[in-house]
């Protein structure tokens, strides 16, 4: 596990979001260091997905601010947030299922190597060369993640585990500095979970990423995270290293109900 350097890449202060009186996120604060892996856990409806939606610009916060590398991104459009370097995946995979694996990755290229309108219209040689270069870049990206044998397959035809990987690969194609993973091990068995855990650790190092991961599966979150935040009713009720959180009685109560034995969290 890499140690986290202490310059702050993502900062949230006083972040709140309510839906008609329901407080989905309440006074949320975060100082995320470059290279850190933050695990966010909590019962269903604790505000984890709301947190992702607020950070990525899909939901404006009711109050509070978000800064990326010191620059305020609160209230920016999702595509602008993506352009600034925050990518995410979804709990329920949202691939472009009627598109090939290669084209899924190519959707990210809007951000890079933009072609001009007239260039496109008249398919100038420079445009065609650019399109070719983008094709090759997308293929190389798949290759680097071990997905190239599927490049011409429709995303919907991929085995489940590879759909997860492709969603992460597609997010990585936007060249993010911060990656938000929403339950990457959802629906996976123990062996697949171990594999995706290894995959996340590998891309964390290779792409120099800062990661926030929301997950229920402790076998993924405990070994992966440098730090864990526990959300309940939109509030951070505990925060610390995996070991600290594991032993916290308040967490065990919120997460599992008071009657569960403590070692169930530890896995």
């Amino acid at each position: 596990m890499t140690s986290a350097p202490d310059d702050i890449i993502l900062e949230a202060s006083g972040l709140s979001r309510s839906f008609r009186g329901l407080q989905a996120l309440a006074d949320y604060n975060l100082r995320l260091a470059t290279g850190e892996i933050l695990g966010v856990i909590g019962p269903n409806g604790a505000g984890k997905t709301t947190l992702f939606n607020v950070i990525t610009g899909f939901l404006p916060p009711t109050s509070g601010t978000i800064r990326l590398r010191g620059q305020e991104i609160t209230g920016k459009e999702p595509n602008s947030v993506a352009a600034l370097g925050i990518a995410r995946t979804f709990q329920n995979i949202r691939l472009f299922s009627r598109m090939t694996v290669l084209d899924n990755v190519k959707t990210a290229q809007q951000l890079r190597g933009k072609a001009g309108f007239w260039e496109t219209l008249f398919s100038t040689p420079s445009f065609l060369a650019k399109e070719r270069a983008l094709d090759e870049a997308a293929y190389a990206h798949l290759q680097s993640l071990g997905l190239e044998q599927f490049s011409d397959v429709y995303a919907s035809a991929l085995p489940y585990g590879f759909q997860r990987k492709l969603e992460i690969a597609r997010a990585l194609a936007t060249e993010p500095s911060v990656l938000l993973l929403d339950e990457p091990a959802a629906g996976m068995n123990a062996q697949e979970t171990a594999e995706i855990t290894g995959f996340i650790r590998a891309i964390h190092q290779r792409f120099g990423l800062t990661i926030i991961v929301v997950e229920h599966d402790m076998t993924l979150i405990m070994p992966l995270s440098h730090r864990i935040q526990v959300l309940n009713y939109g509030r951070v009720i505990a925060e610390g290293t995996p070991d600290e959180v594991r032993g916290n009685p308040e967490v065990i109560e919120a997460y599992l109900g008071a009657d569960e034995p403590a070692d169930a969290v530890g896995a």
């Binding site: 459009e77 598109m99 951000l111």
Partner: protein
């Protein structure tokens, strides 16, 4: 029906289907992204044809006025999106539908005020006039052949655009899942504008071909083509571009061959037969022939 007659009707059907297809593509493209059934799309076609008449009156040769008319149509498509539909972004589907009907009525009445209610002759270029004689006294009109050729070229170009270019890929991504598309850095606005511009350009060309076919221009000439294009997209699967094209040709063939095969006293019920067929198709396959089940709405 002799072989020569069959050939003639076949070309007729392909030609009619081609025009429906050019109109239907624009409907399907906009619907797939915005869930908007743009009934004002027919008025885009009308604007293209009217622009042709006005420009030809100025004495311009058709090689000049045709591209200009298409350009004007594209401008109209852009304006429509900017003025009428963008303020309605995110509104319920029914509101969008009513907006499009409103735009349609406004444009028709605008044309009625400026053109008057009398049809104007369409300046069909001389090269499109006339017939090509075949064996057995059967003739095929040039305008039909040109219509088919233009439609095929445009559809190949569109396929290339949608499958190969960045904007095309962004368009398909947005149509399938707008939320995920935005997270990939895709600007939804750009994609929506592109859909309107491309749809309008195709409708402009269709306006030229339709005008050349019927030989006249009227303020409400867009209504029938857009209605037929709507039926075509429903048959093919709403929101699917290949579905819209397939539906358009099915409709074209259905109309032409119904008239050719039915006894004379039934031919005036052509559209009734077409709509009965539509109802049957929807009973058996409500999502259309190539349509998938309804994608989630963002």
């Amino acid at each position: 029906m002799s072989a020569a007659e069959f050939g003639q009707q076949f070309i007729n059907a392909l030609s009619l289907g081609s025009i429906y297809a050019l109109v239907a593509i624009g409907l399907a493209m906009v619907f797939s992204i915005l869930r908007l059934i743009n009934f004002a799309h027919g008025e885009t076609l009308m604007i293209g044809a009217v622009a042709g008449v006005v420009l030809a009156d100025r004495g311009l040769p058709w090689l000049i006025w045709l591209p200009l008319a298409v350009l004007i149509t594209v401008g109209a498509g852009w304006l429509m999106e900017r003025v009428a539909y963008r303020p309605m972004r995110g509104a319920p589907d029914v509101t969008l539908l009513l907006t499009s009907l409103g735009v349609s009525i406004a444009l028709q009445n605008g044309a009625l005020l400026t053109l008057g209610s009398q049809p104007r002759p369409f300046p069909t270029p001389a090269v499109l006039g006339g017939q090509i004689p075949l064996a057995g006294g059967v003739q095929i009109s040039r305008v039909n052949l040109v219509t088919i050729a233009i439609a095929i070229v445009l559809m190949i170009a569109l396929t290339w655009f949608v499958t190969r270019t960045q904007t095309g890929i962004a368009m398909r991504a947005t149509a399938e899942n707008a939320m995920a598309a935005r997270l990939m850095g895709i600007n939804t606005n750009t994609v929506i504008i592109a859909a309107f511009l491309i749809g309008a350009a195709l409708a402009g060309v269709a306006g030229f071909l339709w005008g050349s076919r019927v030989g006249r221009v009227e303020y409400d000439m867009g209504f029938i083509p857009v209605l037929k294009a709507f039926v075509a997209t429903v048959i093919g699967g709403f929101g699917s571009i290949p579905g819209a094209v397939l539906g358009a040709y099915i409709l074209g063939f259905g109309e032409i061959f119904l008239v050719a095969l039915l006894p004379d006293y039934l031919t005036s019920y052509r559209d009734a037969f077409i709509f009965v067929a539509l109802i049957l198709i929807l009973l058996i396959r409500p999502q259309g022939i190539l349509g998938s089940t309804e994608p989630e709405k963002i």
